[in-house]
């Protein structure tokens, strides 16, 4: 079974190639069959791998498949190899399993779109790149996959490229994540210089000794910081978070797959993968937690006041990834990955049902124009209830509770009180904005006429994800023992029960308070909301704490100014002289091509004379 590992990567790639070279000749059904089928095949293989892995784990907890040696030149032998262990298996399950559901849903969602097969070719390429990212045994290949998913994200955000706004959103996402990627690339170079290898296992083994000196500690701090830069960019954490809300310009299945379930969690994966480096630099690791905590609060406040259904979910994604970073910072590696998995389930569910709502409301995304949809769209409503419950971490019956509670408990047990309190307050914010979203969209008076979708590719993905978002998903425990170090507070007993009770009551309390406010509408509160100060705060929150404005003034405009100043200056001319010289050389040398045979023969004879002379004198 392990031998088939390469198929997980090869099938989506083949799907991409077929769709790309088919260039729309396949028709919608053909494109759907190829696009969904290839990911489905990959999911099947993954399921087989999971069964095998749980039944008969490979020696040492990891299986390596060497695909081929690229070339052997002297002592230089780069090889392509895939490595499967508990962590990558978990990621594979999420990517192919959730990915398959989203593909299936998309085959319904994208019907009638001009770029139907183009859409699936990008999506397949994305899945292939993401699989490559998590299976690569080498940080270089991880980086290839990293750039590959970035490219697909760019292509898919700008999928409806005829609208200029989508194009600029795509460019923004690309450039902002690129900033992070650059940090990461520098970090990788530095790592390679220090250790002489980018093979992940070797890096993890060599690092403790190699960095066991004062200068070594400085180096590993720098490397970890740079890798964190890459993770922050990809996972939309502070301060590189501004691209994610704009990325919602892409089709909703893209938001579900790339900008909620998989790609944006790649940063979490990267940090977990290189956990040894972060453990060697404790202050950077704590910084990871702080970044997560601040992001989760910031995004939580912002989500409170958003009016676009997808932006609410986008900010919520940001804040949930903040939880994962918080967990990483607290040393709760497994809890972070666990939350990554459950989050993939319920956030994919939420995005897909949001897509169903949007389509039902004729591409309306403003929640103020929706309302009372629970009667016309019962399936979407229940999906939102369960998914929202999981997001708000309703105790015991939802998947999100188990993972979020684990994070909070580990933060508490590890003595990270700052992170713990931030997480707890974030849980309150989460339950409030989630409840607000559901109430506004599905209760109250009906403002538009919605028509529900139908067909197996519509309800099956929703149903599967719905089940996974309940406590069923919480029962799945990723096999991370041996891959990631144990967290400080395993098997907590009574203290853990206390934390559970606390976080559970915070979530329930948030929901109840919000519902109370919504249904009773106390006059005093409404008046308070109308106050100028409150409006200002609302506007401030609505603009996500003004980061876009700040970056525009601080970076974008000065950059454009610099570009204007620099164009046509001395540097440019200095660099321009090289092509100018070459052009002159070209003109001169072209004159030797006279087309006359005698001249050619003369150059021949002259060359011969010179060569004979040179050989005679040189000996």
């Amino acid at each position: 079974m392990y031998d088939l590992l390469f198929l997980v990567f090869a099938l989506p790639l083949a799907g991409f190639l077929i769709l790309a070279f088919g260039r729309g000749r396949l028709g919608e059904n053909g494109a759907a069959a190829v696009g969904v089928g290839s990911v489905g095949g990959a999911a099947l293989v993954t399921a087989g791998l999971v069964a095998q892995f749980l039944g008969h784990p490979p020696d040492g907890g990891a299986y390596t498949q060497v695909l081929w040696d690229w070339m052997k030149v002297g002592g230089f032998t780069p090889h392509f190899a895939l490595r499967l262990d508990g962590l990558s298996l978990t990621m594979l399950g999420v990517i192919t399993g959730v990915g398959f559901m989203i593909h299936l849903f998309a085959s319904w969602y994208m019907r009638g779109d001009d770029g139907y097969s183009r859409f699936f070719s990008y999506m397949n390429l994305f899945v292939a790149s993401m699989v490559f990212l998590v299976l690569g045994d080498n940080l270089l290949f991880l980086y290839f996959g990293w750039e590959g998913v970035g490219l697909c994200s760019f292509l898919l955000i700008g999928f409806w490229y005829k609208d200029a706004a989508n194009g600029s959103a795509a460019r923004k996402a690309f450039i902002v994540t690129r900033v992070g990627d650059t940090f990461m690339a520098i970090g990788l170079f530095w790592l390679f210089r220090s250790l002489g290898t980018l093979d992940i296992q070797q890096v993890l083994q060599l690092a403790p000794q190699a960095f066991d000196s004062e200068s070594g500690r400085q180096a590993v701090r720098g490397i970890a910081l740079l890798l964190l830069g890459g993770a922050v960019g990809k996972s939309a954490q502070l301060p590189l978070q501004t691209w994610l809300p704009d990325a919602m310009a892409g089709p909703t299945p893209v938001s579900a797959l790339i900008h909620a379930a998989t790609m944006v969690t790649a940063g979490v994966y990267l940090i977990a993968r290189t956990h040894v480096l972060f453990e060697l630099a404790p202050d950077v690791q704590h910084l990871v937690g702080v970044v997560g905590a601040v992001t989760l609060l910031l995004a939580g406040f912002t989500a409170l006041v958003q009016t676009d259904i997808k932006r609410v979910l986008a900010y919520s994604t940001m804040s949930q990834i903040g939880y994962m970073f918080l967990a990483l910072g607290a040393g709760a590696w497994s809890a972070a990955i666990f939350h990554l998995m459950t989050h993939a389930f319920f956030k994919a569910l939420l995005f897909l049902s949001a897509g169903a709502v949007i389509l039902a409301c004729h591409h309306e995304q403003d929640i103020r124009k929706m309302g009372g949809l629970r009667k016309t769209l019962p399936l979407a409503f229940w999906c939102f209830v369960v998914g929202g419950g999981a997001l708000a971490a309703v105790p015991y019956i939802t998947a999100g509770f188990y993972s979020k509670d684990e994070i909070l408990w580990q933060a508490y047990a590890g003595g990270h009180m700052d992170l713990f309190l931030a997480g707890l307050f974030g849980a309150l914010l989460t339950s409030i904005y989630t409840t607000r979203l559901i109430l506004v969209v599905f209760f109250g008076e009906e403002k538009t006429h919605a028509h529900a979708g139908h067909g197996v590719s519509y309800w099956l993905p929703l149903a599967v994800l719905l089940v996974l978002s309940t406590f069923v998903g919480g029962l799945i425990h990723p096999p991370l023992e041996g891959v990631l170090p144990a967290a400080p507070g395993e098997g907590g007993g009574a203290a853990q029960l206390g934390i559970e009770a606390l976080s559970g009551s915070v979530a329930i309390g948030g929901i109840l308070v919000t519902a109370l406010v919504y249904f009773t509408r106390p006059r005093a509160l409404l008046a308070l909301a109308q106050a100028p100060a409150a409006q200002a705060v609302r506007r401030f929150w609505f603009s996500a704490f003004g980061f876009d404005w700040l970056y525009d003034r601080l970076l974008v405009r000065p950059f454009f100014w610099l570009v204007r100043v620099c164009s046509g200056d001395l540097f440019d001319q200095a660099i321009g002289t090289i092509p100018e010289l070459l052009r002159h050389a070209n003109v001169l040398s072209t004159r030797t091509q006279t087309g006359r045979m005698r001249w050619y023969a003369a150059s021949f004879a002259a060359g011969a004379v010179l060569i004979v002379a040179a050989v005679m004198f040189r000996g």
Partner: protein, 501 residues
Amino acid sequence: MNGIALLPLLPILITSATIVVAMLAVAFRRHHWWNATVVAIGLNLALLASAWLLLPEFLVRFLPQFAGAAGAPVIPRAETPLLVVDAYSAFYMSLVLATALATATLSYAYMEGHKGNREEVYLLLALSALGGLVMACSRHFASFFVGLELLSLPLYGMIGYLVKERRSLEAAMKYLVLSAAASAFILFGMALVYAQTGSLLFTEIGERAGGFAGPDHSMLLVGGALILVGIAFKLSLAPFHLWTPDVYEGAPAPVVAYLSTASKTAVFAVLLRYFVEAKAYRYGGLLDVMTVLAVLSIVLGNVLALMQDNIKRLLGYSSIAHFGYILAAFIAAGPLAVEAVGVYLLTYVVTNLAAFGVVTLMSSPYGEHDADALWDYRGLFWRRPNLSAILTVALLSLAGIPMTAGFIGKFYVFAAGVDKRLWVLMGAVAFGSAIGLFYYLRAMAQLYLRAPWVRKYSAPLDWAQGAGGVMLLALMILMLVLGVFPSPFIAIVQASGLAGQ
């Protein structure tokens, strides 16, 4: 000679038989498809035979578990003093034969529209390929010289094949005169070497040359230099390169595909064997001269190509530069150099065949000229996406972009050069690659521009069904496979090392 002794000569024998049969076939009935098929079948058989010769050596290296299946190897074996068939010659014979086959396929597509006699081109092609085979096996001045001339003589006919076209005739005249002069240089050089050593056999020359010292071996050295002059002409190394663009422009496109690949490959094969077996590597003077030739070729070839608007001339200039790169690897000497040269030639042949193949399919002797202006390729992507894809990959490969064949070749050149600390040469290679990128991309960009005007040249509509189209697609795949998964090909090249190394 008994039957077993003849087995290693099979590729040469089959090719000769093909020539005779093809001549009889033409005499019997002139029919384009039928005559072309006879030659193609013969060349295929010869290719199979030479691949079969190489197989045992390859299996030992790459799939040891199957090594027994290929039977006892019949090579290496010396056939008279003139020829030796070893893995090295089997590799270069296969390369030449495969190129000849590809050329035959392209010629078929090209000659369909030709008004005059179309059949002789295959006959000439097979004769020229025979010359290439002889060169790949030659270890003696007589076979070297006969092989070289057998390679070149039919080329005069092929270059001037379109007798009604002035440019074709002009190209044939230039090539004939200059090539004959180059042959005379080689001959005189051989005579000097023979005069000094008393032997025409490479290995014996190497042995006897060891006994000379000081000014005593100046005749040997100058003889070697004169041979080098002639070879440099055939390989179009600067300053003997001036003929190249003119001949490339005037000759029919499939002939250029052959001229730029097979003929140069065979010449390089014999040069390498001569240098190794006659131990010419020990003469610093010759190596210095070759360094200068390589640097000049790289710089001039790339600079000349910079603003070129004719794609055949552009590829001609680029081939000047590419043989500069190969020479750079060659100068590095040592086992890695033989490997580097082999890999580079392989990737170069595949790439150049694809590039000229596209030019061939775009052209047809219906019109006055081949479709050789870059102008003709503007916006090709919107009319012929498949042809554009092939040309794009070929240009990327020529530029040496990673994941294409050209990258592997260039990587080897660097590996060999850095291994021997040839910094001047490596600097030239890096410089050439950098400016090379400019004109390859410049040509490539033309393919994707929108063309508002009516097209002037077009490939036949059913080109993909034609053998030429299929072959080009195969070449494109080969270019990518070579870039991504080169190890079996590298194993083939490693299997075909020279015994003297």
